[in-house]
């Protein structure tokens, strides 16, 4: 990147960040850093673009509830509902009572509850009300769909190139994507899963890699359609880790299970200790995967937001001279982390699968 490109990017970035926060800063409400950041990295039923409260601009996403039948309505009916302050709580907060089609539901901290006699019974910041099964297209779900759409568009056009031109040198988008696919196969799958068996897992590992990569990068874009902390959401990393766990367990061969239930070279007297340890080990490996991706991506978002928040804590745009370059630095670092975490998740998944399918050799 040339220097002018960096400067242009910097100015656009500053402008957008300024735009996103000016409305909030002019208001005479005390700026709560942790609440703002937690709100940004969490999920929501709306996609907030700019502005504050009812004056702000948001994309209201559809709420889908399974509560004695499927109920679908716009989250507008929740966000534009009456705000009721919660008493008997550790910290002051307010929930929104749904109107119209959202009648009978309330929104507290982005969670939907069923109203009990028209109100929530909050004890120690936790409502006792029942929760309907929430299958809403939330901010993260929409981001997931956008990411999937981008991934499909890019990958299918790559595939189309080869379908059209046959086995020739890549051009256009294929020139960019092909080395990545070949890299995943040659540097992630092949070294970890030995022998001809690796071909069976190329699809899974490559999909994991690109899924994480695209969503990581999408999360780094400050405005719509990016910015959702999807890969920093525990539900997503939980699912991905679960996939790795299931693939590992179901492709485990005799040798793999033998190493768990009768580890070679371990005296039989130690087996009562070893077997539980090995069994727990099956779960800790994917668990570490889940936590690693979640923590890394969430931490990145928190750092960028914290640095930008310096401006609003001090209520002076001059602090932007410090905070924007620092946020830019972290953002660039996060691009590296986006690749690194995708690589790590794919690589470790391949490693675990490779250990499960390895044949006995001595």
């Amino acid at each position: 990147m040339s220097r002018t490109t960096i400067l242009r990017f910097l100015s656009i970035f500053t402008f957008l960040v300024g735009l996103a926060f000016t409305a909030g800063a002019t208001k005479e409400k005390k700026f709560n850093v942790s609440e703002t950041i937690m709100h940004h990295i969490g999920d929501a039923h709306e996609w907030h673009l700019w502005g504050e409260g009812h004056q702000g601009t948001s994309i209201y996403l559809p709420v889908i509830l399974y509560d004695n039948g499927i109920k679908v309505f716009s989250s507008k009916h929740l966000y534009h509902g009456k705000a009721i302050s919660v008493e008997d709580s550790l910290k002051p907060s307010e929930y929104l009572v749904g109107e119209g089609p959202a009648q009978g539901y309330a929104l507290l901290h982005e969670k939907i509850y069923k109203l009990n006699n028209g109100k929530l019974d909050v004890h120690w910041a936790h409502p006792k009300n029942a929760m309907p099964l929430d299958l809403s297209i939330t901010k993260n779900v929409l981001s997931l769909f956008i990411g999937a759409f981008i991934l499909l568009a890019v990958m299918l056009s790559t595939s189309l190139y080869y379908k059209k031109n046959g086995a020739v040198a890549p051009r256009g988008i294929a020139k960019f994507i092909e080395p990545l696919i070949v890299y995943v196969r040659d540097e992630i799958v092949k070294p970890n899963i030995h022998g001809a068996k690796h071909t069976r897992y190329i699809g899974f590992i490559t999909t994991i890699f690109f899924f994480i990569l695209v969503n990581n990068l999408l999360g780094m874009i400050p405005i719509f359609p990016g910015g959702a902390n999807l890969t920093g959401n525990i539900s997503v990393t939980l699912f991905l880790a679960l996939c790795t766990l299931l693939v590992t367990v179901f492709s485990g061969n005799k040798n793999y299970w033998k190493h768990i239930f009768a580890t070679p070279g371990v005296p039989w007297a130690l087996l009562p200790i070893m077997i539980p340890i090995e069994l727990v080990g099956i779960f800790t490996k994917p668990f570490a995967l889940m936590i690693r991706l979640f923590a890394n991506m969430t931490a990145g978002h928190i750092i960028v937001l914290s640095l930008i928040s310096i401006i609003f804590i001090n209520k002076s745009a001059a602090w932007g001279l410090l905070s924007v370059p620092m946020a830019l630095f972290i953002s660039v670092l996060e691009i590296l982390v986006a690749f690194l975490q995708a690589y790590l998740f794919a690589s470790l998944s391949a490693l675990f699968i490779g250990a499960a399918v390895e044949e006995e050799h001595h």
Partner: protein, 164 residues
Amino acid sequence: MDLVTPSFGLLFWTGITFCLLLLVLAKFVWKPVLSAVNARSQKIDEALLEAEKARQEMKSLHAENERILKEARAERDAILKEAKEAGARMIEEARDKSKIEGQKLIESAKLAINSERNSAIADMKAQIATFSVDIAESLVKESLASDDKQKALASKMVQDIQLN
């Protein structure tokens, strides 16, 4: 605590999206793209191998050409040598032939000269005889004017004849 509590909704949508992505991408992207890449690398390998083979062939062809050229050159040399020898031989033969021819000519010339000379001598002899007779006649006419002289001459002639 909300941060680390999975939500069922997102889990559900992630599951569906990821599984669909896995199916579609594995079937329509990873497989065809990687098989295209494999096919291409195989094609490149083959092309390289073929190029190497062609190079070897070129090399052997070159060697063959060189050999043929060398043979041709040797043949040319041999032919030239032979031609030179043949030429020399022909010249030699011609020289010998001409020598013999010359000798023959000389011989026949000699013979002719001899026969000419002989005939000339014979002719001369005849003429001399005629001249002698004429001279003798005139001499005789003169000297035989007297008897003595006639006698003397006759005796002398007799003597000469005896001597001959």
